[in-house]
Amino acid sequence: MNKLEFLTRLRNNLERGGLPSDDINDALSYYEEVFLDAGFGKEEETAAAMGSPEDVAVNILRESGIHVGGAPVMPPQRMGGPQGQAQGPAMGGYVPPKKKASGGSIALGIVLGILTFPIWLPIVCVVVSLLFALIVVLISLVIAFFAAAIGLLIGGIVALTEFPAVGIMFLGAGLILTGLVILICKPAFSAVIPAIGRGIKRFCGWVVGLFKKGGKENA
């Protein structure tokens, strides 16, 4: 089991247990950190060492005072989220009644989304194109700056032999521009790109989770 699968299954189980979403996010960020700290090549090993995500979820739910069907449960000691009723111990799993509705409401949302698609599709297209244009403009600006910087630097070196003063001025301007480009690019590379990556990952996790949930309910 890899990291994504572990985290997705953990999230599904915690959601089904009715844990408040703040607590779910807290738990997931903890476990994601564990995977990252353990190292890239060790996802399978790490997941195996922690036990099944279902068991992990049961422990977290129990700690928050949520009853879990099946295994004997200590009385809830502390505050915590909504108290799902223990039910159907035969399954060994737990399906608090409340959360079942959410599968239906997601399906309803999807149907509504499809029906209203002539309205939102153009809007989405426009927004996406605008964003795209904006990004392209920003990137071109940076490239233009960069090109100008290189031009000035080369021009400066060439001019240095004939008109030293002009050459030095060109070099200076080129260095300033280079500095600007680096200043602009650095935060973009260190912050924006990982953020996009995380966004895509979370989205994928969510989609996978959606399908898994649907599959289980049908079964």
Binding site: A27, Y31, E33, V34, D37, M50, P194
Partner: protein, 110 residues
């Protein structure tokens, strides 16, 4: 080997580790592994419980382009750790008196 660690003892050990140094989840587990067989998933509820009891607080610190959650002990945590340590000393003494026959004269054995 084979002695079980109860929740209170685990809480106390985590508090003690964090008191030495602000640290993060993975490192705490590695540290605890010197003494007990524990997994990351055993540690999480402990950290959560200590946080809710306001004995630990967290802050995020950047590490290689991501945030790492660090834990810091609160004054309340310090007090409670002191209590745990006191309790442990007396507990240890009682166990030793039986298991290692230390201070056996008080045991009224013949």
């Amino acid at each position: 080997m084979g002695f079980s660690i109860n929740a209170g003892l685990l809480d106390a050990m985590v508090l003690s580790i964090v008191q030495n140094n602000d640290t993060y989840g993975y490192e705490i587990t590695q540290y605890l592994r010197k003494a007990v067989d524990i997994s990351e998933s055993t540690l999480y509820p402990v950290l959560r419980r200590l946080q809710k009891g306001e004995m630990l607080e967290t802050y995020d610190k950047e590490f290689m382009g991501r945030n790492r959650r660090y834990y810091r002990i609160t004054p309340k945590g310090n007090d409670s750790l002191e209590e745990y340590r006191e309790e442990w000393r007396s507990h240890k003494k009682k166990i030793d008196s039986i298991l290692l026959n230390e201070g056996a004269e008080y045991n009224e054995q013949t």
